[in-house]
């Protein structure tokens, strides 16, 4: 199975400033072109979570991809959008609840052809190329959360790297990548600050450590900025991150 490359998905070019609930509100517009565009943003960003969830529910690729298309057609038809309400809380939970309802109501009701919108909403090839989930992901809800968190983290890391580039701090990014990202994600041995300092020519070990602190702050800021649009208020950011962590760690919390 081919590794999915981050740049394959158009959604990554979307701005972090797109407020999810605002997009949903925008999709309520009666102007079909604007509605399609607003819903398109939501679809581009979230189809992976929906697909991962459906596959873990036991659906084969064909059925799952068909249901993904169908789910977003339903969104396009505004039936789900009209029920969306920011006051209900987190967008992640809203989407999953809506998906559950859709699958229950629509299960095998229509032919694949009827469900699929003209041109589709996400490339079937892209779905086929998604790598398998790790064994630790055991339930459909975990699959959904896992795909959600991956998307979030991919976007955040790309933005952190882009901001480092803008700030002409590529060495800072490199220090962060080697001492934080790779060791945390892959268990790779982190080089010592002294070794990195010598390799990158970044002055002293103390200065190299300070570079790392700068990017950690940037990571934290950008992560929180990416989570903010998915929750009802800024006060809920910590709770959302903690719940994601708990779900990923398979602790017993609600969906």
């Amino acid at each position: 199975m081919k590794r999915k490359r981050r740049t394959d998905t158009a959604a990554y070019d979307e701005s972090v400033w797109h407020t999810r609930w605002t997009e949903i509100s925008a999709a309520r517009t009666l102007d079909p072109a604007r509605r399609r565009k607003a819903v398109g943003r939501v679809m581009d960003r979230y189809w992976k979570c929906v697909y991962a969830y459906l596959r873990h529910k036991g659906n084969g690729h064909d059925v799952a991809s068909d249901l993904v298309q169908g789910f977003f057609v339903k969104v396009l038809q505004r039936e789900l959008i009209q029920q969306a309400d920011a006051k209900k809380g987190r967008f992640r939970t809203y989407l999953l609840t809506a998906l559950d309802r859709y699958v229950r109501d629509e299960h095998e009701k229509r032919s694949a052809k009827k469900r699929r919108p003209p041109g589709g909403v996400a490339s079937l090839d892209a779905m086929e190329q998604l790598p398998p989930l790790p064994d630790a992901v055991r339930t459909p809800e975990q699959a959904y959360t896992y795909a959600w968190a991956l998307q979030l983290l991919d976007e955040v890391l790309a933005d952190v790297e882009a901001q480092c580039r803008q700030a002409r701090q590529q060495p800072h990014w490199e220090v962060f990548r080697r001492t934080v990202v790779e060791p945390t994600l892959s268990g790779a041995q982190a080089p010592t600050m002294q070794a990195l300092c010598e390799e990158l020519g970044s002055g002293t070990a103390k200065r190299t450590a300070a570079m790392n602190v700068t990017v950690k702050r940037r990571f934290r800021r950008i992560l929180r900025a990416h989570v903010a649009p998915h929750v009802a208020s800024e006060d809920d950011i910590d709770a959302e991150i903690r719940e994601l962590m708990a779900l990923l760690s398979n602790r017993n919390v609600g969906k």
């Binding site: 590794r3 605002t22 892959s186």
Partner: protein, 173 residues
């Protein structure tokens, strides 16, 4: 990790460990002025336009009668600036908002507010082909060029300024 790669395939516990950093307090260490501006700009771009006086008046009436019908928070400024469908009058409003915020402020706040001000002008030029300021295209090209180079600039906004600069350079000839 380069932008070509993805976190796919990593253990969920490890993904959680990365997310944990988002909830931890920042480590000690003084922020540079560039970092302060980067943070301020991020906050400003996530904020929404304040309500107009007319809206405040209407809301005060609504609050009493329809508390649960109050509008959801509006679009983030950053989103509005990068959306080709943002109406021209809204961009003028954002420009004025940026100008207002820049008055009598410390350097960091003034610079970030002026970024919003010029962001609205750039958006109007790039997406509508309209100049919503009396500045000449040559002056604008110069201003956008300087903004693109700012280390604290949001990368997506830097791309908008870069496009606006090119458009202004063409138009000034």
């Amino acid at each position: 990790m380069s932008s070509e790669k993805t976190t796919h395939g990593h253990d969920p516990e490890n993904i959680a460990a990365m997310l944990r950093m988002g909830t931890e307090a920042d480590e000690a260490g003084e922020m540079s002025s560039s970092e302060v501006k980067e943070e301020l700009l991020g906050r400003m771009l996530r904020a929404t336009l304040p309500p107009t006086r007319q809206q405040v008046h209407e809301l005060s009436v609504l609050v009493g009668q329809f508390r649960d019908r109050l509008p959801l928070r509006g679009r983030a400024l950053g989103e509005a600036l990068l959306d080709e469908e943002t109406e021209l009058d809204k961009l003028v409003e954002i420009k004025e908002h940026g100008k207002e915020l820049s008055r009598d402020r410390a350097e960091a706040e003034r610079d970030t507010a002026l970024t919003v001000y010029y962001g609205a002008i750039a958006s109007a030029i790039v997406f509508h082909g309209q100049r919503i300021t009396s500045y000449s295209y040559a002056a604008l090209a110069d201003a956008f060029g300087q903004l693109v180079e700012k280390r604290w600039m949001a990368p997506k906004l830097a791309r908008l300024f870069s496009k606006a600069r090119k458009a202004c350079e063409k138009l000034s000839k």
